[in-house]
């Protein structure tokens, strides 16, 4: 057996107040796909940051052997030269630059001081072929979809002779087809001698692709399993990840759906002047009291646009159609009107659109309903602290204090803060856009429990999600969206993944 490409020995990394990694050992064989799973905060990303030099040599304890040699990476440049590339969830591309400029950014092909554009484009075409991406190298990155941007990023790392490719939750923002393509690409690269480390929350994906799986929990490596002898299945992974087994990922609830239609949209059309095209066409949907209605579809099908257009239209689409609340026609010119009418929107991208990261838990929770804690525009701090503590407790937000800045919380807890903020406005209708994106199994389960509690208390939820199992597990009814149209409405009893995928690609 050849020397493992990577051996990390007894890695310990401490941050002020927390031990992020505690004596972790991690070994990756050559030309394998090695998955790294664990709950948020388990230390996966930290481990990869130690490897890539984001946390430089000296800031951690332990040893890293790469290709059999002890290596001390002082920065990401060192590890890049050694052939290690990391692809983060937030892509490191320059949107205004072209594909070829991005691919060769930082190691431009040049004659003297001038860049050899023709040669660059030629090599870009070669490397794009490798990743199976069919775009014009002179296209601007900002004009590509997210899935294609990710492939550009991978192309970028391949252009540097990468031997070890690390992907941090690459598929969390991708549709099913794009995810499948990406996984196939990793299999292709494996044949060509590239080793991959894949961090993922999607267990099905892990099971389908992994040669090896290492599970981290609370900063310790729990176990490494072999992906080929049948010992890896969802139950085992979850058991190791959370340290207990979860009987059912989707908790059951008492269905208390009344016949009363609380919210309805009819003949809904929207035109986006920024993109210069129609984004929503003749959409009609309704929502009953106590119901969870799912909206699913591929990325770019118009799900988020639909949600925003109903929630006060902050992006300034031109809209025609009618919206009814309790049977009365309503019109929301801005998010404030929607909020005042009892509609809440839990944003898809909680960091960009949901939370004020540099503010603390308390200020985030009360932000959308300051009226509740103030008289004549003056905030009563004491009531604010009391309320924030109540909501923190009832949603089990794990934070040292309500004065903690949200940026320091884990993804699952950030999502709970985002939820708490919208529960604080006491809405009747909650639109939740990808409520479990990028959060771990345990936190997902808790979010589902909260959703169940809310609908049992009489709230109605529109749940937007691209995770089909989640839609099937949680919703009472599901609408499928494709290219800005509703292509189907299925009661949950008759819905299945194949039928939904057929409608979504209609």
């Amino acid at each position: 057996m050849s020397v493992p490409i990577l051996v990390m020995k007894n890695i310990t990394k401490e941050f002020p107040g927390v031990k992020a990694l505690d004596n972790v050992s991690f070994q990756v064989e050559r030309e394998k796909i090695h998955c790294l799973v664990g709950e948020n905060g388990a230390g996966k990303s930290t481990l990869m940051k130690v490897l890539s030099g984001v946390h430089p040599y000296g800031s951690y304890e332990g040893e890293i052997y790469y290709e059999g040699e002890l290596r001390n990476f002082k920065n990401t440049h060192d590890s890049e030269i050694a052939g290690i590339a990391v692809i983060y969830q937030e892509l490191a591309l320059v949107p205004e630059m072209t594909v070829y400029e991005n691919v060769f950014l930082g190691h431009e092909i040049h004659n003297g001081i001038s860049i050899n554009i023709n040669e660059t484009i030629k090599q870009t075409i070669q490397v794009l072929e490798k990743v199976g991406l069919d775009v014009n190298p002179t296209a601007r990155v900002k004009d590509l979809g997210f899935g294609k941007q990710q492939l550009v990023e991978i192309a970028k790392s391949l252009s540097r002779n990468t031997k070890l490719l690390i992907l941090d939750e690459p598929t969390s923002a991708l549709s099913e087809t794009d995810s499948e393509n990406l996984l196939n690409l990793l299999r292709e690269l494996r044949k060509e001698g590239v080793t991959s480390i894949l961090i993922s929350h999607k267990l099905k994906e892990v099971i389908s692709i992994a040669d090896k799986v290492t599970i981290l929990r609370d900063g310790e490596s729990v176990v490494t399993l072999d992906g080929h002898n049948g010992e890896v299945n969802e139950d085992i992974l979850i058991k190791h990840m959370v340290g207990r087994s979860i009987e059912n990922i989707y908790p059951s609830r008492e269905h208390k759906i009344s016949d009363e239609i609380i919210f309805e949209v009819r003949d809904w059309n929207a035109y986006d002047p920024n993109r210069g095209r129609v984004i929503l066409k003749d959409m009609s949907l309704d929502l009953r009291k106590g119901e969870i209605v799912g909206i699913t579809g591929l990325v770019g099908s118009g799900r988020t646009e639909l949600a925003l257009s109903m929630f006060g239209n902050p992006d300034g689409y031109r809209i025609t159609g009618q919206m009814f609340l309790h049977g009365h026609p309503v019109e929301f010119n801005n998010p404030k009107k929607a909020i005042d009418a009892g509609v809440a929107y839990v944003a898809e991208d909680r960091k960009a659109d949901g939370l004020i990261l540099i503010q603390d838990v308390k200020e985030n929770i009360t932000l959308a309903n300051l009226g509740r804690i103030s008289k004549g525009g003056v905030i009563d701090e004491n009531v604010e602290i009391k309320d924030a503590r109540e909501y923190t407790k009832s949603l089990d937000i794990r934070t040292p204090s309500i004065e903690q800045k949200v940026v320091n919380l884990s993804g699952g807890n950030q999502q709970k803060v985002s939820l708490a903020k919208w529960l604080y406005v006491e809405p009747e209708i909650m639109i939740m856009d990808e409520p479990t994106r990028g959060i771990d199994v345990g936190a997902k389960y808790e979010i589902f429990l909260i959703m169940n509690r809310l609908v049992e208390e009489g709230m109605s939820i529109i749940m937007i999600s691209s995770e089909l199992p989640e839609i099937l597990g949680m919703c009472d009814r599901v609408y499928v969206v494709s290219s800005g149209r509703i292509t189907g409405e299925l009661p949950i009893e008759t819905a299945n993944q194949e039928e939904i995928m057929r409608l979504a690609t209609d």
Partner: protein
């Protein structure tokens, strides 16, 4: 936890807030020693406060502009231009002082709204929009003073704003060396602060929240009272509280209250921290932009009034580089260049720090060229300290 442990922890936790006060203290102590006490004399401190008034109000307005991730370069010449308008309406039109002040303040608000209209409606970056304003108001100032050059303002009540002091109590025999009304106001302020602190502590205890221990609380009160006492005593030793100081104090208190205790303040910081999230939380980012630039315009007008009144005239170069001083004061005072963070009280301290440096170095007879370099270094040091302590906070 022992008293010292608690004290040390509080200090560590709030080093960002206290750092600036400590720096100010060090600077003042240094100049006091270097000038044999002249720096700390009643007359000099009183002077210093009057000199920094027109920058301090700008810095307070600029704080909010920087917090919402914009900038306003036009305020210096806007202040100069509006000062000239005040001078013209007072002299050529013979309008009463109160009317002139109200009118100029309203003009300031309109100018601020015009700037934000460019930013909000046409999407012009504030840097560019206000750079245009910088040019326009500079030209407007030159035109306003074109025929006459410097416009002398022969109006005593207007000039009192920048040069006058509050009247004293009519008790000539009691404490003849000191300004009695100033002392009285100082005592009143101290009593007010002590009572409000005690009542706020009682409320927190009633809610069953954690509060600092009794000892720490008492020390903090004693320290605050001693500080107010010292400032009051120093000012009472000369002519007492100046009208400029009163105005700066009122503006600071109002803005401090608005930013820390109200809806509006919370919304401003939310927009600065993440405007998308703020918009989706039902906050109108556009409205906040109008309010912040409107307030900036009004404070620019106030700055123009203070400056014209102090010089008792409107000059062709009035307002030159005020915007840079205000921006520097705000950054020294802890405003984050990434937006979303910054206190008006911090910016006031920042303005005092910068003015103390000029004043102290003037007293020491240090050349103006060196002064600029020293102030530049202090600006950089302040921001480095700010960035370093912010990282530590994580």
């Amino acid at each position: 936890m022992t008293f010292f442990e608690e004290f040390w922890q509080l200090l560590k936790k709030n080093i960002r807030d206290y750092g600036m006060y400590i720096a100010l203290f060090v600077i003042m102590a240094f100049f006091t020693i270097a000038t044999d006490g002249i720096f700390m004399s009643s007359r000099n401190i009183s002077n210093l406060l009057n000199q920094m008034g027109y920058i301090a109000v700008l810095a307070i307005g600029m704080t909010l502009v920087l917090v919402i991730q914009h900038i306003d370069l036009s305020v210096g010449y806007l202040a100069g231009f509006l000062g000239a308008i005040a001078a013209i309406t007072l002299t050529a039109w013979d309008l009463p002082v109160w009317l002139v002040i109200i009118m100029v303040l309203i003009l300031g608000v309109i100018a601020g709204l015009a700037t934000s209209l460019m930013v909000v409606k046409f999407g012009i970056p504030s840097f560019v929009a206000t750079l245009a304003g910088w040019l326009i108001y500079r030209g407007a100032l030159l035109q306003a003073t074109l025929r006459t050059g410097t416009i002398i303002i022969p109006n005593d009540s207007f000039n009192a704003i920048g040069n006058g002091y509050i009247p004293d109590l009519p008790l000539p025999d009691f404490l003849p060396e000191l300004h009695k009304l100033t002392l009285l106001l100082g005592v009143a302020a101290a009593v007010l602060i002590v009572f409000s602190e005690i009542s706020s502590r009682k409320k927190k205890i009633a809610y069953d929240f954690d509060v600092p221990s009794n000892n720490i609380f008492i020390i903090k009160l004693i320290f605050t009272v001693a500080l107010i006492g010292a400032i009051t005593y120093i000012l009472a030793g000369y002519n007492g509280l100046s009208w400029t100081a009163v105005i700066v104090l009122v503006v600071t208190l109002v803005y401090h209250f608005l930013t820390t205790r109200t809806f509006l303040g919370r919304h401003i910081y939310a927009v600065g921290g993440n405007s998308e999230a703020a918009e989706l939380s039902g906050i109108s980012v556009n409205k906040i932009t109008y309010v912040v630039f409107g307030s900036m315009g009004m404070l620019a007008a106030l700055s123009g009034i203070l400056f014209a009144s102090r010089l008792q005239s409107a000059t062709t170069t009035a307002g030159q580089l005020f915007e840079m001083d205000a921006i520097a004061a705000a950054y020294v005072g802890g405003v984050s260049s990434a937006g979303g963070v910054g206190k008006v009280t911090g910016s006031l301290i920042g303005a005092i720090v910068m003015m103390s440096l000029s004043n102290g170095m003037n007293l020491m007879g240090i050349d103006i060229s060196t002064q600029y370099i020293v102030r530049g270094v202090v600006l950089v040091l302040a921001v480095v300290f700010d960035v370093a302590t912010r990282k530590q906070g994580k």
